[in-house]
């Protein structure tokens, strides 16, 4: 039964080989000029000022997480909308309760101040 997977294994092998070969070829063939400008970090032509290991404010994460939650809500709603007529009233009830629960979460987040930027 493993032969069913032969194309996949072949594909994996080819992709890995391609990647390795290409980067190696680049390394061998490419011209090399060693100076300090070449070895410094490139940042849009600006001089790098601070450590790159900087902490972002928690607010970014909050927004990102909230975004995912509501994004997934939309993902759920697409197939639901497509089969809406087929599902009928019970489908409506189910989606309504889903959105209601989500709204309560939204209310919680709002009241707890997760949406305030300052």
């Amino acid at each position: 039964m493993l032969e069913n997977y032969t194309p996949i294994f072949l594909m994996i092998g080819v992709a890995m080989a391609f990647g390795i070969v290409m980067s190696k070829v680049n390394e061998i063939l490419g011209p090399k000029r060693r100076n300090s400008d070449k070895y410094s970090t490139y940042e849009s032509g600006m001089e790098p000022l601070r450590s790159t290991r900087e902490r972002f404010s928690i607010k970014y994460y909050m927004v990102a997480m909230l975004f995912i939650v509501f994004d997934i809500e939309i993902v759920f709603m697409y197939p639901w909308a497509v089969t809406y007529k087929h599902l009928g009233f019970s489908g409506f009830i189910v989606m309504a309760s889903f959105i209601f629960v989500l709204l309560l979460g939204y209310y919680f987040v709002w009241k707890k101040g997760a949406l305030e930027w300052d």
Binding site: L87, G88, S90, L104, G105, F108
Partner: protein
Amino acid sequence: MDVYISDILLNAPFEIVVLTALIVLVLESTRGTRPNISSWTSIGGLSLAAVAALTNLGASVETFGGMLQSGGFANYYGALFCISAVMTILFSRNYFERQNYHRGEAYILLLFATLGMMVIAASNDLIMIFLGIELMSICLYVLAGLFRHRDRSNEASLKYFLLGAFATGFLLYGIALIYGSTGTTNIASIRTAFPHVSHDLLFLTGSGLLLAGFAFKIAAVPFHMWAPDVYEGSPTPISGFMSTGAKAAAFAALIAVFSRVFGPSENAVHQIIALIAAASMIAGNVVALAQSNLKRLLAYSSIAHAGYMLVGLAAGTADGQIGVMYYLAVYALMNLGAFGIIGALETENDQNLQMDDYAGLSEREPVLAACMAVFLFGLAGFPPLAGFFGKYYVFLAAVKARLLWLAVIGVLASLMSAYYYLRIIVFMYFEKTKAESVPISVPMSVRWTVIFCAVLVLLFGLFPSVIVQTVLRVLF
């Protein structure tokens, strides 16, 4: 696909927990945190859900299009989780207050974690199991890190999250492979397909990964490494909840998948479970011997107990399942009680957790010391306490399934465990109180909860048939 009223009625315990959680959520957000109201509301809702679960211990019925299984099996576990959660809340109230971190969010998370556990136990589909596990785990990750200002708590939370996510990946991959080989995620359908795929490479790999994912949740060797660090760093009542509720939930999933799909036939999966069980019993007990911090000690002991329970699963027979389900119930009582006492005696900044802090406890707190002794004797498996019958049933099942070597290892391992459990008792009863020990006032609610647990441990030991009859009714 219609949602029938009967489905909703049959799943009443779930809905009660969901509604309670939502109510607490709204309560918490409208007027700021009010932990007293939140905790009592949660206790009320969970108790109601437990009652609703206990009133319906009949045969299992498929609901919601075969996604959930309502009835005895689910409700037995549901009641177990709800009762564990109630006790955890009763212990937490005082604990959080004394640690100066009493916020209502903890109860919302506890409620959702409980819901996740209930979903696991009720699911009839791998996807639902996954959903339940995620719901439970995410809440527990946060609960582990509830004390944000403490390094240990943060460490526990992060480690649990990282390794939990890692394990979830394997779990999901296992589910995908099983789906790939059988074309379904429905457990009943997998059961029907099993004879055709029992030697299928994909299917076996999938089951192996699934087993690893569950073994992580029950903290069985070698997937146990997170448990000591996490149990030690988490707030103590939460550690108790994780070591009982989460473990029981994963066991429910193990029974649902492995016992139902693989049946009593002797096969490689059962051998693997037997090996994991043996390793857990040995490693858990051996390392526990070297511990002096009680939370860490109980973490290792909980690894060993996962091993004992796996013995029942390794047998693969109905006897084994009965043993595991009995064991889970009494283990929950004993471990929750023990963690409750440890939490009640813990002082700020993780102090008063060493074994010698318990010296002379019998003089200072005779009732708590006596209850602790009951729990420890029960965990060690002394008759006539409930823990003895738990071990008796699983080992008996192993012997009947011709796994004599496993039963022998189990008995030897529990002999070993007696050493460290008894050491605590020796400290409590035969050592003098240290001069610098600070007196602690333990509130009545905690006391009565502990006494209640201890009495139940005694009663279930004296009348094991009460639970066993229930389990029999639920399983068959």
